[in-house]
């Protein structure tokens, strides 16, 4: 399941809803992305996350389907926020549930690496010198590339 929203999400409630009643699940891996107050050594205030409505949902669904094709997953969830966010706010949530912990952990890492490089979101950070578009990191491409096959 995928969701793109401005509202915050409740990790505990999402976890319960996703696993409720499925006692075949043995392991659940979760990743929660938070807004940091530092980026590239510079203090950051609020940020605004712009996205491409329509393409975002399409890409998230493709990424989720790819994970479910690669690993034996019982349930998956991707929630990505957009709009204005403050340091400490939650940005993104990935949950992967499986009978086996290895599948859950690997699929979760795979999804977050792909989100970083394929989901059409752009961060604008408020800095003391004014708003600044965040540049993509080459390391993120490398992290995503290790899943290529």
């Amino acid at each position: 399941m995928i969701r793109v929203q401005t509202e915050d999400f409740d990790v505990g409630a999402e976890l319960k809803a996703l696993t409720a009643g499925n006692t075949a699940i043995g392991g659940v891996a979760l990743f929660v992305g938070l807004v940091r107050d530092m980026a590239g050594g510079q203090a950051v205030g609020a940020m605004t996350l712009e996205h491409y409505p329509g393409m975002t949902e399409r890409q998230l669904e493709k990424i989720e389907a790819e994970a479910r094709a690669r690993w034996p997953l019982d349930a998956t969830l991707i929630v990505h926020r957009h709009g204005r966010l403050e340091p400490g706010d939650q940005i993104v949530l990935v949950i992967c549930a499986s009978a086996h912990r290895e599948a859950a952990l690997e699929a979760c890492a795979f999804l977050i690496d792909w989100l970083k490089t394929k989901a059409p979101f752009w961060k604008s950070e408020a800095t003391p010198e004014g708003p600044r578009w965040v540049e993509a990191r080459a390391e993120d491409d490398h992290a995503a590339a290790r899943w290529q096959r």
């Binding site: 929660v32 992305g33 807004v35 940005i91 970083k116 490089t117 394929k118 059409p120 752009w122 993509a136």
Partner: protein, 85 residues
């Protein structure tokens, strides 16, 4: 053809989207970019360094030799920076 611009491309071009009808010889993304750059300095600035421009046609990533035609939704944007740390 519906054109969409995001992040600093949107800011340089000065609009988020527009409907344009390029001539028939504008048959792929590369030629569409050249045609847009000739429309004004904002476009020229947005497309000055194509290493930091990504393109989607009908909401899928494409390379610059991908064909474009009337009715397509073509989006230009910088490398994505979502997710988190």
């Amino acid at each position: 053809m519906k054109l969409l611009y995001f992040a600093w491309l949107r800011e340089r071009i000065g609009r988020a989207e527009e409907d344009l009808a390029p001539p028939a010889e504008v048959a792929d993304v590369a030629r569409l970019i050249d045609w847009l750059k000739a429309r004004g300095p904002g476009y020229a600035a947005a497309f000055a360094d194509l290493r930091v421009v990504r393109v989607a046609v009908n909401q899928d990533y494409v390379p610059v030799d991908h064909p474009v035609r009337a009715g397509d939704e073509v989006a230009f944007f910088p490398p994505v920076t979502g997710g988190s740390a």
